[in-house]
């Protein structure tokens, strides 16, 4: 009788487990799929949904770049090339070249840490595909420009204030592990 009981139990187990299993999979028919249909069928751009500290392609705000070369020295693989020279007339710095080779860049983030103004920072942009290595070198400067120099006194140039505050905010958040997402107006880079 024991063998027959086991036989019937096996059948019962099989039927009940198939019943439960089919119920579980049937419940999936009414669930929303997890799939993100990147790139063209998302409700918002995928780049906008990424966290603030995401290490995407590097970007430089040239208005607040001081030309201090801290990022070039910090880069472990020398993918940042900056050329600066003294302007004899105004005694300021003139930046004539600021190239970042995205093909070499390993997104370690070491360049954005020492930046005093938060000028060089990661964006949430990650689409770097291109047809030639040459075009992956981001050349930020076409014409030589004057480097940013912090003004004495409390007044900041109103044109630069939002960029500066964004940059400093970026640095502060960066230094804090698990830092909160910044407010909406400072998020866009």
């Amino acid at each position: 009788m024991g063998a027959f009981g086991a036989y019937v139990d096996n059948i019962k187990d099989a039927v009940s487990s198939i019943f439960e299993g089919m119920a579980v999979t049937a419940s999936h028919f009414v669930r929303k799929p997890y799939t993100v249909q990147y790139p063209d069928r998302t409700e918002v751009r995928v780049q906008d949904t990424l966290p603030f500290r995401y290490r995407g392609i590097l970007e430089v705000d040239l208005e607040i770049c001081t030309g201090c070369l801290a990022c070039e020295r910090a880069c472990p693989i020398d993918c940042i090339v900056i050329a600066v020279e003294k302007d004899p007339a105004t005694r300021g710095m003139i930046i004539s070249q600021f190239d970042i080779d995205i093909a070499k860049c390993m997104f370690c983030g070491l360049c954005s840490e020492p930046c005093p103004t938060g000028s060089i920072h990661h964006t949430t942009e990650f689409e770097g595909a291109d047809f030639s290595l040459e075009s992956l070198i981001r050349r930020f400067i076409q014409e030589p420009i004057h480097a940013y120099k912090a003004k004495k006194g409390p007044e900041t140039d109103p044109r630069l204030a939002p960029i500066l505050s964004r940059g400093m905010h970026y640095l502060d958040e960066w230094a804090q592990p698990g830092g909160a997402k910044p407010a909406a107006e400072t998020e866009e880079s």
């Binding site: 096996n10 059948i11 198939i18 089919m22 579980v24 999979t25 419940s27 999936h28 009414v30 669930r31």
Partner: protein
């Protein structure tokens, strides 16, 4: 067929003195080409797309939805891709057997369409041994699969082919024994005869005629899945163990043929179950218009078949693959004895109530409704427990 050929000759399309046999041969070739290229192969293709979408939703994915509206043309894209690929025959393979194997598998898929009872008058040939013919020609698959496995001269292919042969030959027995109760009750092997013995209402279906036929229907469905190499019985092409089993060495169009036959077989499985147990094309007599009745019956039959096709996709998305020893245990220790008990039980039932017991039908339909309600309760329970966003639209 005869009248069609005589009309063709009378219309003068082939000249006045056209030989009857020649015109008949041309008509047969053209008709079968239209049926297979217009119905059977597109069905197999569309099922491949539907199946991928169904699995995707089971796994909380989306599935192919880029080619055409909701990815509907995906099967055409895949087909064109496969046909354009190079037809490679391995150097060490037996070239003739290797090339012939896919055609035999496809042959086993197209032959059953001859006795497919779509409606009361839409049937190619109502053979008096219809269901026997159906089971015997679908068993041709094993020849093709074994041939493919042997001719490829490859260990994976050979193991896949041998496994498939063992599996199909074993499961023929419970499948055949499960057809027996119906033959006992109706006294005919003809597809139309079996359908005409049933009614349109569920309590008149053979599925609910008595408890033994209900079990027989389940055994037949599972055995048919095993014969069609469907998950959970897809051992012959177990990817993790055998690469692609008997289809390992195939590429391009020949590879496509194997899978077309596999997906097309779903319709055959559904049609056998529908004919034997679900009342086939039976539809309440609502109009005296023969054409309208036939269209309604065609729709009824196809809906039942498509429901079973959907269930087999759902099973494939749910159950994991069984081991080879479990497969054989299930067949020989469980299905064969139970199928014999079914047969004897039905024989006794028919001896006691030769006209059938109508109360049994009502009680079994009520029991089935209770089980269905319990099932839906479980589905709602699992759907709520997941705390996920609900999305009821089948398309995304």
């Amino acid at each position: 067929m005869k009248t069609l050929v005589q009309n063709l000759i009378a219309s003068g399309m082939f000249g006045k003195n056209a030989p009857y046999d020649l015109v008949a041969a041309i008509a047969v070739f053209v008709l079968s080409a239209v049926v297979f290229l217009g119905v059977a192969f597109p069905f197999a293709g569309i099922v491949s797309w539907v199946e991928r979408r169904v699995w995707a939703r089971i796994q909380s994915r989306v599935g192919p939805n880029r080619v055409g509206p909701n990815g509907f043309l995906q099967w055409l894209a895949d087909g064109v891709k496969h046909v354009c690929k190079e037809d490679i025959v391995p150097t060490d393979a037996d070239p003739h057997l290797f090339k012939m194997a896919p055609y035999l598998v496809v042959l086993a898929f197209v032959l059953p369409w001859a006795v497919m009872p779509f409606s009361s008058s839409l049937i190619l040939a109502d053979l008096n041994v219809g269901i026997l013919y159906m089971t015997s020609v679908t068993a041709l698959t094993v020849v093709g699969v074994l041939m493919a496995g042997w001719a490829s001269n490859d260990k994976w292919s050979l193991i896949g082919g041998i496994r498939s042969a063992a599996q199909i030959v074993s499961y023929e027995i419970p499948a055949g024994l499960s057809i027996f109760p119906i033959v006992l009750m109706t006294g005919t092997l003809s597809m139309q005869g079996i359908i005409k013995a049933q009614g349109w209402a569920p309590q008149h279906w053979f599925l609910f005629a008595n408890p033994f036929t209900f079990i027989a229907a389940n055994i037949l469905f599972i055995s048919a899945l095993a014969e069609g190499n469907r998950t959970p019985f897809d051992l012959p092409e177990a990817e993790s163990e055998l690469v692609a089993g008997f289809a390992t060495e195939y590429s391009g169009m020949r590879y496509l043929f194997f899978f077309m036959a596999e997906w097309g077989n779903l319709f055959i499985i559904g049609a056998i179950i529908t004919t034997l147990f679900l009342g086939g094309w039976q539809f309440p007599h609502v109009t005296n218009n023969v054409v309208a009745m036939n269209i309604l019956q065609l729709i009824t039959f196809n809906l039942k078949v498509l429901f079973l096709v959907f269930v087999s996709m759902w099973v494939r998305g749910t159950l994991p693959r069984v081991r080879i020893d479990q497969l054989m245990t299930l067949c020989w220790k469980y299905f064969v004895p139970i199928a014999f008990i079914n047969m004897i039980g039905t024989a006794i039932w028919v001896a006691i109530w030769p006209e059938g017991n109508s109360w049994a039908g009502y009680i079994m339909v009520a029991a089935a409704i209770v089980v269905a309600v319990l099932f839906i309760q479980r589905v709602i329970y699992y759907a709520k427990r997941s705390k996920m966003e609900m999305y009821y639209n089948p398309t995304i």
